[in-house]
Symmetry: C2
Subunit: 428 residues, 2 copies
Amino acid sequence: MKVLILGGDGYLGWPTAMYLSRRGHEVHLVDNYLRRRVHTEAGSGSLTPIAPDLETRVTAWREVTGATITMTEGDLTEWSVVEQAFRDFPPDAIIHYGEIPAAPYSMKDRARSVLTQYNNVVNTLNVLWAMHEFAPDTHLVKLGTMGEYGTPNIDIEEGWLEVNHNGRQDRLPFPKLPGSFYHCSKVHDSTNIEFACRAWGIRATDLNQGVVYGIETEETKLDPRLATRFDYDEIWGTALNRFCVQAIIGHPLTPYGKGEQRRGFLNILDTLRCVELACLHPAERGEFRVFNQFTEQFSINELAELVKKAGSEVGLDVTIENVANPRVEKETHYYNAKHEELLKLGLEPHLLSETLVGHMFDVIRRNRDRVITDHILPRTTWRAGVLTQSADSSSALADDLLSGTMPARPHHGRPRPRPASAQGVHSA
Amino acid sequence: MKVLILGGDGYLGWPTAMYLSRRGHEVHLVDNYLRRRVHTEAGSGSLTPIAPDLETRVTAWREVTGATITMTEGDLTEWSVVEQAFRDFPPDAIIHYGEIPAAPYSMKDRARSVLTQYNNVVNTLNVLWAMHEFAPDTHLVKLGTMGEYGTPNIDIEEGWLEVNHNGRQDRLPFPKLPGSFYHCSKVHDSTNIEFACRAWGIRATDLNQGVVYGIETEETKLDPRLATRFDYDEIWGTALNRFCVQAIIGHPLTPYGKGEQRRGFLNILDTLRCVELACLHPAERGEFRVFNQFTEQFSINELAELVKKAGSEVGLDVTIENVANPRVEKETHYYNAKHEELLKLGLEPHLLSETLVGHMFDVIRRNRDRVITDHILPRTTWRAGVLTQSADSSSALADDLLSGTMPARPHHGRPRPRPASAQGVHSA
């Protein structure tokens, strides 16, 4: 199967590429290193040392396994990049990770908020138009998030809801209560993709993924150059990954607010298997299929307790200190999200255990001197009446990307200097 | 009341400005003439001759009434424009018409599709961030569309739905089935605004408007320079307005498909009263309030028959010829949309009558020599497997706006030549 992986340099994109390549699929990657560049601007970075660029990664992959992964360094908001990828590599399936995935980033200030929605919505629109023009029978496997649903007071179904109202009935998109402008951007994508399926007969699977944890996969362990990134900071890190880092560096674990927020979680190994299952069992023409992609539900406090217990097994004295919640979310709420469709296709979950947490401790301990501690505690908030950062003191990277003055394909992830001739464009 | 009207040069924006100014409100307008520029590019235009720019319009308004309307020529996707407007004119209410409002435009090709979503979503995000930073108590009155709902098989409520599911209950955003990427963009706006109300405590009223008809208001009739635009072409024209033009020029009326599609409609006079009522009765802090803004439901065939009958009263021999439907939409469907909230606030509808159609005939007849007939029949389609226009033969205007090389504030609506220095920015 020819699989185009968008966002192939990311935490999940790169391990997915290796996983599918090892199973005999032809894989082509597209990435513009946006994730690396936002870290460079912020002064944060991956805990694990990762190869400097995709070329190094695919070269190492070839040396280690003999298999070839091809790649494009390019920005999916640019039509020429998307068009060329579809022309050079007509895909049987597209796995679309190519989006900015962080709620706090999208809430920090105006420019980052707009960049998140611009980047995510336009990337996906470009992919839909490319499918319509060049590959109408191709299957889109799109990464969404469980955070699109929020925490309604009813069971969360897989994307669709049978509604009975005033004696009439219909099957309608499940109502969404997203919790940040990032989560809103994923709702926008779902809206656009569902429409494209209905109007153009496109095949699509929207994977509403829970919170992913884990550092290693079978393939990342083959060679140090094949490691995937691992984020633990307040912007890009997620609860379990961040707690494990806090445990190792002797920092209290910091659930936000009461910590009774419940969410769906899954092991990175299951992410790889889920996207593989989706590709192997494509949606029908015109079908907008939604799977809730997680394996277990936990409250944040339960996760913290698990990490504390796993820590004590290996002699770590782990404490828990709930901090003021920087987010707007219900801290006590009903939560029962269905997740049956991927199990029906054959998913065999890797459930969370203290053993897994112990393995994560090992990797983190090896990289302990790389932890940048002052990026762990929350500094980005979106409570009513609180402005984290004025629009005036914002992100040069976001401004440049939004104003179109950033080169489209930065070499090796390092932004080039802005061309002098472009300075006056907007005031011309 | 200080009212900021975004999109103040448009079909509804300009009449709203005069209506509110005449009632003693302070009004400031923002517009970048995007609507005029897309018509210039396409070779289409308003049936009614309109003043060349906002400056001429507000000057005429002052001469005729003695009242002052102030204005900014600027693009709301640019933060500096939004920020300056909020600093110079701290509003009590914002009436937000500042979006690209055409389904066919958004479906014509990739560039126009992306421009529609980029423009609409970023405009609204900028407004939300400006409210959060500068005017947290201000009331946002945002124009949405009934087309966000599509045609579900259940009653359409006003924005929210009481859901009973598996023995539990919640009040959730009404599920949406938008019918074009334009309609999707309005769903995105609703999603973003609902989140901003919940997270930041913003006040917002989303007016899901039906199809507006009519050419004149009390204020546009005061002076020829105060006329508002009137579109009848396949991209910007809407059913009733287009049928009236067809009747006058002796062209058959052309319902799309079976013509049994039912929609909500309202007179332009009621649009003005509805936005006034929304402003006078603001939403609560944190409330995302949705009103369905229309007064009557008709099928497209019923509208055609009404125009035919009104035509025969004045000696016109009007025929009806249904044409192949260029859109993807159900042609036979249940439709019962609630519209009670604005009536409760005091709306007294101007219902559609043959008399009103007769008045429209008069205005159209006076401008008959301005009708550009080859833009009336549908050329833009979005059926599965049909590509209206390849991405390669697209819109220079859309490309320029998306790449950031278009000047932000065109003088008098005429795009300036693209600066030579900007040509190489993206390939630098």
